[in-house]
Symmetry: D2
């Protein structure tokens, strides 16, 4: 399926449901796909950070992507994360994703090693040369510890290497300047800019972003679709009100006990606990070695869902 240019709307970065024994729960993944498509998602993003991709073996990645492609069944495009340390490894992930039917790829800059911007550009060019699918850059310095430079993005947009950007940098000022620069070069229409910052979606859309990839959109895709609709219709006060509600709901991502688990485990555990409480997935387990959410945290998640009107 051809990726729209630009890709717009709400593109949930799907969680990867697991069975109690840690296998991919493909049935729950299919249910999650329905959950977000019935709410109006315009595409799905499989194997992103919210999908615990960093935690999955290659076999698990393939299982999850195949299950998502099957469940989506061509109704919307499927973006696949190809998250790995450097070029050769990303190329292997990319070839596997292409073979499984992904409609577009999302790759970060190299990590573990520290790339120079020139090396980051080479990285994306080699990936694009190696696999014939639209390629989006995934700017997520909290995970990869390098901010993708605007000059690099602009050069790779101009020469056609990149079809878009998923911006999870949290740097709204840099995103603004990039959007202005893309428009200044006549590139804005064909280059998809998606924000991954789920708490400032109204702001990103006001600034000209085309769409949103919200982790919290696993839990409340309808909320993000409403927010997107308000923004596209110019109902900015309504968009902001919806964003406010979602910002309050985000508290469910911070219920974990900081004495035994990291912030990422708390967020991923919160999303899955919520999906379990909503009846979307069968089991809220997160991947090893993440500490599971304690019961008290799950109760807090339930409360936030109730306060957010979802339960």
């Amino acid at each position: 399926m051809r990726l729209p240019s630009p890709l717009s709307g709400v593109v949930p970065p799907l969680c990867t449901p697991l069975t109690p024994s840690g296998d991919i729960d493909t049935r729950s993944l299919a249910t999650l796909v329905e959950h977000v498509l019935s709410a109006g998602a315009t595409a799905v993003f499989v194997l992103g950070s919210s999908g615990e991709t960093a935690y999955l073996s290659d076999a698990q990645r393939r299982t999850a992507l195949r299950a998502a492609v099957d469940a989506v069944a061509g109704r919307v495009p499927v973006l696949a994360g190809v998250i790995d340390m450097t070029t050769a490894r990303v190329l292997d992930q990319a070839r596997a994703a292409a073979a499984l039917g992904a409609d577009g790829l999302v790759a970060t800059v190299p990590f573990y090693s520290h790339p120079h911007p020139a090396e980051a550009a080479t990285h994306f060019r080699r990936i694009r040369d190696g696999v014939d699918l639209p390629l989006l850059a995934y700017d997520i310095p909290s995970a990869v510890h390098t901010k993708l430079a605007a000059a690099t993005v602009l050069a790779l947009a101009e020469d056609g290497t990149l079809a878009g950007l998923k911006d999870s940098s949290g740097d709204g000022g840099a995103l603004r300047r990039l959007l202005v620069a893309l428009r200044g070069r006549g590139l804005a229409d064909g280059f998809s800019v998606l924000t991954g910052s789920e708490l400032t979606v109204d702001a990103a859309l006001l600034a000209g972003a085309h769409g949103v990839v919200p982790g919290l959109g696993n839990v409340d895709p309808a909320g993000y679709v409403r927010l997107y609709g308000h923004a596209r219709a110019g109902r900015w006060a309504e968009a902001a009100a919806e964003q406010d509600r979602l910002a309050a709901l985000f508290a469910l991502a911070e219920t974990g006990d900081p004495a035994v688990m990291g912030g990422s485990s708390s967020a991923l555990g919160g999303f899955k606990a919520a999906l379990h409480l909503l009846g979307v997935i069968d089991c809220p387990a997160t991947a090893v070695p993440q500490t599971p959410l304690p019961d008290s945290a799950v109760r807090s998640v339930r409360r936030y869902l109730e306060e957010g009107g979802l339960l």
Copy 2:
């Protein structure tokens, strides 16, 4: 003069003009005050980061604040930065600022040392106890290397220690959640939230911030006043367009040669070069030990001013 509650509108963080020999140029500072007040600034912020406060001796700080208070002459409130390493030193700065007629104080968390949130709270409480002026917290982790925790801000808003926040963290998601939490506790109306992120002002206002403290507002205060007006009137598309123009203009803050100067020197040098080219200040010099902008950079600044319609 009593600080409005909440303080709203455009509050430029005034540059501190220097003579070629490095003294405070009080005449140029007075001209700068007229430049921003005639454009519609609702207050001024003296001795902030844009004011090169970190570079000024205590005597220079006093000279600058006195000159600003004199020039403003009671037309709008004067906020004074009291930037210093820890509580006792900030208290000394605060007493000096109060004596010189400041209407409100702006203090960061301790730096050099690394405070625990509980220690940051003690810090603000001691300052507030020591000087009878409204106190705003200045959240600027790029300078002080500690992000002010939302829970700390909320507690200090609730008990009346803080009258407001100048948020220069660049973390739009955290700002959003703070604004939602303040409203949830009924604190939003009396607690001033000002964004220092000059590239996402439309977003901050859409999220509920009361005002903006834009470094670039030294150069183009009228632009920020227009942006603020559009936002207040609900003309969000117009606000975004104005923000886009200002985002492009911000290129004047990045003209310096990275081989011999830091990013901060480049930005401060760019603001002052622009003010000099606009005829507002007599000399574009920045404080020692900053490397001055080379001529080629000044030519770039001129070009950006022309492209931005200011020259």
Copy 3:
């Protein structure tokens, strides 16, 4: 082959020679093995950071490890790096390494995600449970952005999960305290502490470390063997003099052009250029997407080799 307990001496983290087309050059790798074994290396570490492991596909990793195991031919133990993002992936790498004949494994904490110390402990326990080979923790915060906590290392040493530590943290104070604590608990003799900080090997040995894993030891293994011998014999002044010579030689790791390549690329390129100039490997190429060393840098590498008495 059974890993000595503790493992001591000089354990070079082998570079991974590549052909001009980017394939593993197994013949050069075998020559490199002879280069270090003939100098007196007590073990080799394959697939570490110096081995560009982050850049290698899984197939390339297997090829390199197989070639190293073959070349070593049981003369010394072979440690294999099993560097990957999280537990499930590391387990896959570990099983592959075990199948190929590794005598011990070296694993980092999870990266991309940010583990809590409790989660890091779970990570190492699961790896140890899954593969029956001695496991060393690889503390390298410059790559994985988490410092392994001393309390975690001590707990995992005490319960037998870890057989040792490769400390590339550069934090000599923390290493000192860990060594003192290990001795205090009677664990020092059976728990291998190896420093990866090639510029302070005399210091680490004086503090009680058992051995060293020096990237620069690819280039000058004999120098590190002499340094180790002096230290073991209590000839500390001679050890320090040898360390000084090696510290000067390390300049060959910093010849790259910072305008187009990162520091890591410069170091890896410098090691390989030196090995090529010394006639050990056939081709100095580093893996994609690293920018190759320019000719001027290679001339500098040659000069440093001459000044260090190696050419």
Copy 4:
């Protein structure tokens, strides 16, 4: 008093005793001076990080420095920290310190702002030009968030701007390379290199450092003098054993409750609690806004003193 060139031996960075009401306790400071001089300190460093200088008002700084100069009474040189944000402010501190009788000055790079290395060099040159006292650079990135570049130190050593370096960077590899480079340029004898890393003093001396400025040397100056003596006499095993004992003793710097206080507060509180328990100072209070050590922590400090043979 003329500063020796190079300055060698043990130079304790004196704690600044406070009264319960937060004033400088000059009598206790005098006792502390006797405590370290009688143990064999070769100089004292007043107003360093261990002296809580960041927390002291300018008046308090003057009081503390005057008291230390009086107590030392010319028996050894007095180094004064002139810690402030940027050049003009450091110059004010430096002039005050010179007027009070300091024999040498210790200054960091600018902080709050982020200096380029060229700007850091300008900074030190202006300070040296402004006050006629030997100037040491204080490399403490944990506090000022910039690592002093080796090239900058070498250039400023070569042109006579700097008389030495206090290295609290914790980067033993960089220190090693600097020492090698200084010797290579014939600068080692006249340029004082002092380590502030109290856990790796044996290593620094083995590498060629001239002396040590150990915060823990407030508590156990005799231990550091013994360690220094062993090292100078080439008794490295004995030096390492003494360092090991001191490394264990350092546990007294980490007894604070992380739920309510920062690591720096814990360390400063631990040093002062120990000095109080040893009868050297009258009151263990640390400066506002630091959370005081709880009683349980003070009991731990006592235990560590007992285990270290000091009580």
